[in-house]
Assembly symmetry: C2
Homo-oligomer: 334 residues x 2
């Protein structure tokens, strides 16, 4: 019998399907390789083909030249533009505002052929540190209310370029999904005076059935009501609302766990395309400190049942999180 | 300058991107053809390879044999199971219930090579009528709270079989997206004593900039804040909360407009994969009569920027609805 499960944060229901039960080898992975590019604008030496860097960690050399480890540049084709004022307008029934925001690319390494699963931990830590620095800088801008950091890895996860990179969008509004999550966490806190994510960490640590791995600072779990097969959350054990206010040793620890988790996925799921999202509290939202709990969500792109889900918001997942956790737990790393 | 636009029903913001502006010819369509199948379980003569029919419109012949125009059968690999009771359980913090529901396939025509863009209007009307009959039947079952009717057309829109078909899922809960839409409509009604969709129909009829086509009963529009390029809504002009309670002549009119709209898309967008969703009020939700307004949403699958959107609920659309409406308006039909 399939199960309907409810996410304790957002209240979103998913179907864990048994008839459509899938083991890792059942997914017909659409993992189209990138066409070999004669030229990559993110490679070392090609710095002049990107907009000028807004942040750079360098081994040597001068600004916008070679010699860097991590480089952050404005997106050349930005979804939003950073210059301008927030012009709000009505149009009868409809509301709009000017598309003011920041859209940046975090080039994670000068080496084209690396990935977050193969880079050394210290290099991944630098990427996380670059996320942090950019968020702290952009938060100063009072036009922005939330920042989304995300990564599309592989063509079918939406990546346009192969060279390892993440993206950041600073928005003048709080997106619906972020609001739903924050409101869900607030409702839990209001009724129980506890953070729902802290409760999840405790219950998962007790039951162990959905735990993939654990270190001193983080817990990697298959969430109870995952939308996608092998969806994985990396939850900090220490409560805190925002990614950018984590402690220095937590970034090191997260880098280690992120690398290991991606290695498990690569091993068990044949290097799947994936999306990674940093969930962090929006700004200018008072009272969130005890309520919200930042974390990372990784969603391998294994299935195509997207149309119905997009339209309805209702997800059918062919792999139970207990089974996914077991597979990933047993996958070798390194 | 890009624009941020807010959907007046759900409150969902989208980015209409200008830097990433796309005309129809800019989309690199991933329209992988189905592999030629030696055998199709939905073709006439192969009735014994599907579960037994729950509804059938016949020209002749006996049950579960050839001679039909439209055939509805349970899904052979159902996401939910129709037998059983709604067993609700808690698991500490978590909630689940048994996956009771119905999952049916509406085989739209015996002819493998047809589509809703090529079938005669009367045949499409029969499909809509089959939707209606199945909903009226399943509504009797008090375990169900909502029914989703949807169609995945083309491999990259999630279709597993080429033979023209739609699907129906009856659920014991109201999915989040449906609830958001209903609550948004209710908030509008509470503040204005008017249906938000009726307001949309009036404003679009006045401004014309997003109208694709119009007949006596329906308006085809590019919505003000579309998540996807060339997203199209078919809105009945007459207010009513549920698809299944439309008048007979409205199904005929909808069949005509649906066919014509798909022909416009095929012409302008080179026969794109698409998802179609029937939005209709959930059951057992008192007071929705004046509040909610059923309609169809069609989403061609042209872009791949899905990962970020899935994770964040925030959509970047590279084609403005004004431009999309103009392109579709000018596309030839027939």
């Amino acid at each position: 019998m399939p199960e309907l499960r409810k996410d304790p944060v957002t209240g979103r229901w998913v179907i864990i399907s048994t008839e459509r039960r899938k083991r890792p080898s059942d997914f017909r992975l659409e993992n189209r390789p990138f066409e070999p590019a004669a030229f990559c604008p993110f490679c070392e030496g090609n710095e002049k083909y990107t907009p000028r860097e807004v942040l750079c960690y360098r081994r040597g050399g001068g600004a916008n030249g070679p010699g860097w480890d991590v480089r952050v540049v404005p997106n050349k084709f930005p979804a939003l533009e950073v210059e301008g004022t927030l012009d709000r307008q009505g149009e009868g029934l409809f509301d709009k505002m000017s598309g003011v925001g920041a859209h940046e690319v975090i080039i994670e390494t000068p080496e084209h052929g690396q990935s977050l699963a193969t880079l050394p931990v210290v290099a991944i830590e630098r990427v996380l540190w670059a996320f942090r620095e950019r968020v702290l800088d952009l938060k100063q801008d009072t036009r922005f209310k939330s920042i989304l950091i995300f990564k599309n890895h592989g063509i079918s996860a939406g990546a346009a370029l192969e060279h390892p990179h993440s993206q950041l969008i600073a928005l003048p509004i709080v997106p619906r999904t972020v609001r739903d999550e924050v409101e869900g966490a607030r409702a839990h806190f209001d009724s129980k005076e506890r953070c729902v994510f802290c409760d999840i960490v405790r219950q998962e640590q007790d039951s162990r059935t959905r735990v993939i791995s654990e270190n001193a600072e983080f817990l990697a779990v298959s969430p109870y009501a995952p939308r996608f097969a092998f969806e994985t959350w990396l939850l900090p054990k220490r409560h805190g609302p925002t990614f950018e206010d984590a402690a220095r040793h937590e970034y090191e620890s997260l880098a280690r766990m992120l690398r290991e988790t991606l290695q498990r996925m690569n091993r068990a799921l044949l290097s799947p395309p994936y999306n990674l999202i940093v969930h962090s509290a929006p700004f200018q939202a008072p009272g969130l400190e005890p309520v919200y709990h930042w974390h990372l969500e990784i969603m391998p792109k294994l299935t195509k049942v997207a149309g119905f889900e997009w339209g309805s918001g209702f997800y059918v997942n062919p792999t139970s999180p207990e089974e996914a956790a077991q597979v990933l737990r047993e996958a070798e790393t390194g």
